[in-house]
């Protein structure tokens, strides 16, 4: 021990967060260059769960590929399926019965609430609070039970079909939805009391990881990430699709640009989704759920088609280049978290590791959806 240790004041070290790390919620790897607890630079490394969904889209027929969409995002599967069926219906010119569209909207919004609830729980758990996750899961379980009853599955629903739905909903489902709405409003109050108002929670999130409007635009961020930075953009409002123009709902926008704003946007979105469900149930028309002449074999005419939907995670775009055969020529999936995640590298510079991970939680990343 005779050699004195030389201190190097500018020495940094590399910290590998992930691919197996509790904060990344999946197999995302973040290579962080650290100066003590401060992040000098970070680089997100993706591809650990790449499953070639786009390539599969090229080699499979349209109905065969449809099942893959549910597997992209296991928390908000219906939103992605919705985008796909809307696109194929647009391309192949299939008329959708109104009842089917209403049921689609109701189930998508239920799924959005389920996804936001899970995010809420996981986010608070990232910050060290365990119990809110369990409360959120109780409410989510209620939604999953309802959806399981009508779709037959709890996560990978595959409920929609080109032209309509696989199964109709029944009175019991409507009853349970009607019961769910007041229950969820009560739970929201509980969450606000337990988490939103909490001084520790507020101190951690207020002013954490400021994302400017410009950064959001630069990276093409959407969902609560953009709306928390004051960008009033929601596909349901800006590029209306399905029956959303019939509904009366608000787009929550906050201008604080911090993690708290993103949190508040999502919590408000739960309330807005409840409103949509309420109106959807009230307006639900009778009628068939599949068109009379649904084509057996889907062969969209040659051309280029695009459809964007607002999923729980943001602006999901799906582009189809058809050459008139049973398989698409090219199917491009624009996943929202892919854009949202890339904000992380730039924004977390100079943050403490715990703030950076709180910020990562506020982005609502679902890794299989990034890698596709």
């Amino acid at each position: 021990m005779s050699v004195p240790i030389r201190l190097q004041p500018d020495e940094t070290f590399i910290l590998n967060v992930g691919p197996q790390h509790p904060a990344t919620h999946g197999v995302l790897r973040v290579k962080m260059e650290m100066d003590g607890e401060y992040i000098v630079s970070a680089e997100t490394v993706i591809g650990y769960i790449h499953r070639m969904h786009e390539k599969m889209g090229e080699i499979k027929t349209y109905p065969q590929f449809y099942m893959n969409l549910s597997r992209m995002d296991y928390l908000g599967a219906l939103g992605y399926s919705h985008g796909h069926v809307l696109l194929i219906e647009k391309a192949a010119g299939i008329e959708v019965p109104e009842r089917a569209e209403y049921i689609r909207a109701i189930t998508v919004e239920l799924n959005r609430i389920a996804s936001h609830l899970f995010w809420f729980g996981a986010f608070v758990m990232d910050l060290g609070g365990f119990s809110p996750l369990m409360y959120a899961l109780q409410d989510r379980e209620y939604i999953l039970d309802m959806l399981e009853r009508i779709t037959g599955s709890r996560l990978t629903y595959s409920y929609y079909r080109f032209g309509g739905l696989y199964n109709d909903i029944d009175d019991q489902f409507i009853e349970s939805v009607k019961k769910f709405i007041p229950r969820m409003r009560k739970s929201l109050k509980k969450y606000h009391k337990l988490v939103t108002g909490n001084i520790i929670f507020r101190k951690r999130l207020e002013g954490n990881a400021i994302l400017s409007k410009e950064t959001c635009r630069k990276y093409g961020a959407s969902s609560a990430v953009a709306r928390g930075s004051g960008i009033n953009y929601d596909v349901r409002r800006n590029e209306p699709y399905s029956v959303y123009p019939e509904f009366n709902f608000d787009i929550p926008v906050y201008h604080e640009c911090d993690s708290m704003a993103r949190y508040k946007v999502r919590m408000d979105e739960i309330e807005q989704s409840l409103r949509i469900i309420e109106q959807g149930i009230a307006k639900l028309p009778d009628g068939p759920i599949m068109p009379k002449k649904a084509p057996k074999i889907i062969k969209p005419p040659k051309g280029d088609y695009y459809q964007a939907v607002e999923t729980a995670r943001g602006n999901f775009g799906i582009r189809l280049v058809s050459d008139g055969t049973k398989n698409p020529y090219r199917l491009k999936l624009r996943s929202p978290t892919y854009s949202n995640m890339h904000l992380f590298d730039e924004t977390c510079t100079g943050l403490l590791i715990m703030d950076a991970l709180a910020f990562m939680g506020s982005l609502d990343l679902v890794i299989p959806e990034i890698d596709r």
Binding site: S131, R149, G152, Y166, L194, V195, N198
Partner: protein, 146 residues
């Protein structure tokens, strides 16, 4: 100075509010199902792996039209049949479901026009051996009949 103290007081109050929420939850009953001891009924539309439907005599309804095999996105169904002499329809010889690649999408059931396939309600499908997931559905139907 006033904000300093009011922040302390309001912060403490928010903590007390949080504690009150968890206390109320503390005295509420359990919501969990003690799984191996209690089991939930699977809903009617639950999508388990597929199984064959038999007629009254226990023979499968399947007429080997191969629609399910063609509809399957993962190619996990393989079936074969032959035409017995004197009969109009083909009879099923074997129906193998490779559950290792099945993603439970249900395309096969939907594509079937002869009411020959349905979803089972089975969900306890864990095993350490791959062979356990190569399911012979014809054998399964016989077992169900007996």
């Amino acid at each position: 100075m006033v904000t300093y103290f009011s922040e302390i007081i309001s912060g403490l109050w928010s903590l007390v509010l949080g504690l009150s929420v968890t206390f109320v939850e503390f005295i509420r009953p359990n919501v969990t199902v003690q799984y191996p001891y209690e089991k939930l009924e699977m809903p009617e539309r639950f999508r388990g792996h597929i199984q064959l439907i038999g007629d009254e005599e226990g023979r499968p309804n399947c007429i080997v039209c191969m629609m399910c095999q063609r509809a399957c996105p993962s190619g996990c169904i393989s079936l074969s049949g032959k035409k017995e002499e004197g009969q109009k329809k083909k009879t099923l010889n074997s129906y193998i479901l490779d559950f290792t690649t099945c993603s439970l999408c249900g395309s096969c059931v939907e594509s079937c026009n002869f009411n020959a396939l349905e979803y089972s309600k089975e969900y306890n499908l864990a095993s350490t051996r791959k062979e356990d997931f190569i399911i012979d559905l014809l054998k399964r139907l016989e077992e169900q009949n007996s």
